[in-house]
């Protein structure tokens, strides 16, 4: 049975309301931290926990916090990245919709640790109905003294607000998010300086993902060491995996990091196997950006060891034979799937979402989409396949933000592992599916 840290009470009716959340022990971490811990002690617990950023990059959260510029006279900000848009990823919505107070409690803890007196939850505009649920919960938290002036008599004050986006995947990139929060186009900033030094309104800022923040109450309540004891050592704690595609039980699962991929796909506790008894063809394990792996390489590493759901095991073999845990968006494809067509939908996505600042990404994503349309439509040539690889190489590493890499990796990996299928499209001059 998976460790239930994030989803423990998720099915309790009325959990989105303050009273139910509180009755189940909610806000005890805020009481514990504000009464018993200095801000640095909270940061220390998070460092000890080994918690990594759950948005996709996997950067250690405690370390990110420790970069905050404490010498600056400017106010500090804590910002929640709720711009969930990575194809295959739908875990944050689950928390926001069903357990908003867990997120709010995490926001209070993070803000306290960072010394922020104002915090924002930046939520994608399409999820306005979730924003409204969270705002209602925020109002309840104010009424009950967990937000506002002098929280629990601690002398610490915090105001928390929701801010809607308006349809732009790029705003999930933290500096684009900050631009957007300032009322501008979501163009990523050149780093350094990092947000911890120059963030929102030029002030020291930390941006964390919803799932990262939602883990904070448990970590404060139980201690960083207890969290670090869960998982594989290198990958601590639990992770939400949003599983979709051709499986019998799509949904959101909380797993202890280190669970074998095979068990995750085939066990009835999780995905429940492939639909219609079909065979597994490929998996995109961490959101559309991460390299696609064929069935044999997702179930076992190139060395023949069982592949585990952990940062290090999924990355085993590098990009030649491995992939990334990413956001935990787990997209499963059965043998009826055309890899080229699936890739075309991703390529279209990245072309649509490129902000246009950097030429390699702005132009390259469009070219990749067009060439893939050509191949899928039966007009491709063998040269087109190499051209795709070339374009992907020329985007990768040559852009201000990681959207370029995110657009390049799916193309490069699909050709790496499924070249015959591209060639078959060219030879037949049509899609074989």
């Amino acid at each position: 049975m998976a460790k239930q840290i994030l989803l423990k009470n998720i099915e309790v009716p009325g959990l989105a309301g303050f009273d139910v959340y509180r009755r189940l022990g909610g806000y005890s971490a805020v009481e514990k931290a504000l009464k018993g811990y200095t801000p640095d002690q909270v940061t220390d617990e998070v460092k000890k926990s080994g918690l990594k950023g759950r948005g996709g990059a996997g950067f250690p959260a405690g370390m990110k916090w420790s970069f905050i510029d404490k010498k600056s006279d400017n106010p500090r900000y804590f910002v929640c990245n709720f711009d969930e848009s990575e194809p295959g990823t739908f875990k944050d919505r689950h928390i926001g919709q069903l357990n908003p107070h867990q997120l709010i409690e995490g926001m209070i803890l993070g803000s306290y640790a960072l010394g922020a007196n104002a915090a924002y939850i930046y939520i994608r505009g399409e999820l306005f109905y979730v924003l409204n649920i969270i705002e209602k919960a925020i109002n309840e938290a104010y009424k009950n003294g967990f937000l506002g002036e002098n929280i629990l008599g601690s002398g610490y004050s915090l105001n928390l607000y929701c801010h809607p986006g308006a349809g732009a995947y790029i705003c999930g990139e933290e500096t684009a998010l900050l631009e957007s929060l300032e009322g501008k186009r979501g163009n990523p900033r050149i780093k350094p300086p990092f947000p911890a030094i120059v963030g929102l309104y030029g002030c020291p800022t930390v941006v964390n993902n919803v799932e990262t923040i939602a883990a904070l109450p448990w970590i404060v309540n139980n201690g960083g060491e207890a969290y670090a004891a869960i998982g594989t050592g290198a990958s601590t704690g639990t992770k939400l995996i949003s599983a979709c595609g051709h499986i019998n039980k799509p949904g959101i699962y909380e797993i202890e990091l280190g669970l074998p991929v095979e068990e995750f796909i085939y066990s009835d506790e999780y995905c429940g196997g492939i639909r219609n008894g079909n065979s597994l063809k490929a998996v995109v394990a961490g959101g559309s950006s991460v390299p696609i792996l064929p069935a044999d390489l997702i179930l076992k590493t190139a060395k023949g060891e069982p592949r585990l759901m952990s940062y290090e095991s999924l990355a085993e073999g590098g990009f030649q034979t491995g992939t990334m845990l990413g956001s935990g968006g787990f997209i499963v494809m059965d043998h009826t799937t055309c890899i080229v067509k699936n890739l075309l939908t991703f390529a279209r996505f990245y072309r649509h979402e490129s902000c246009g600042q950097c030429s390699p990404c702005r132009e390259g994503t469009g070219w990749m989409e067009k060439i893939l349309m050509r191949i899928e439509g039966g007009q491709g040539t063998m040269k087109d396949i190499n051209l795709l690889t070339d374009i992907a190489k020329n985007i990768e590493g040559n852009t201000i933000c990681p959207l370029g890499d995110a657009a390049a990796w799916p193309v490069a990996s699909a050709i790496r592992h499924f070249r015959e299928e591209f060639e078959e499209h060219v030879k037949l001059q049509k899609c074989p599916f």
Partner: protein
């Protein structure tokens, strides 16, 4: 294009909401309220942002109109051309495609007699394709205003279309309410 249906200005209740939103940001940072206020303005202007509407928003926030245009044209949720009363947005990204989004879109096209980006001659429906709505576990998914409709089949799509046609569905409601 003539702005046939442009809001003159927000009513008192909406202005009150806008002022509350502006207060969420530090003094002098009222530009931060641009996205939320544009959402409200679009809803009140039949689902799109005319030049006059954007100028009005600029005046409310004390910023230049160009600062509004450049933002409105960046974000895919803002329509810069008139749309139908009910905008149907069909997700077409990988996970939805794996679960029949293409067939679903074709069904909407057939039922409505229009292609994505078009509006029915009676002005009731606009059909759009959108990229990932982050509800992939319940694919295929569509969005209509602030509503998601998930695990959609052509049968369910028909039911929804019949219902929306009968009630003359308007998807442009103030998202904060």
């Amino acid at each position: 294009m003539q702005d046939k249906n442009t809001i003159a200005e927000f009513n008192a209740a909406t202005l009150d909401l806008v002022n509350q939103i502006i207060k969420r940001y530090p003094q002098g940072r009222q530009k931060s309220a641009l996205l939320p206020v544009l959402h409200i303005a679009q809803a009140e202007n039949n689902g799109w942002l005319s030049a006059d509407t954007m100028d009005y928003v600029a005046s409310l926030l004390g910023i230049q109109p160009i600062e509004v245009y450049e933002v409105a044209s960046f974000y895919s949720m803002f329509n810069l051309q008139p749309v139908g009363n009910c905008v149907i947005e069909v997700c077409q990204t990988g996970p939805c495609w794996l679960n029949g989004a293409e067939q679903l879109l074709a069904h909407f096209e057939k039922r409505l007699g229009i292609k994505p980006g078009e509006t029915t001659p009676d002005g009731k429906f606009t059909l759009k394709t959108v990229e990932c709505l982050a509800a992939c576990g319940n694919a295929p998914v569509i969005q209509v205003g602030t509503e998601y409709h998930e695990k959609l089949t052509t049968l369910k799509a028909d039911e929804l279309l019949d219902k929306w046609t009968a009630e003359n569905k308007n998807s442009h409601t103030n998202p904060y309410l």
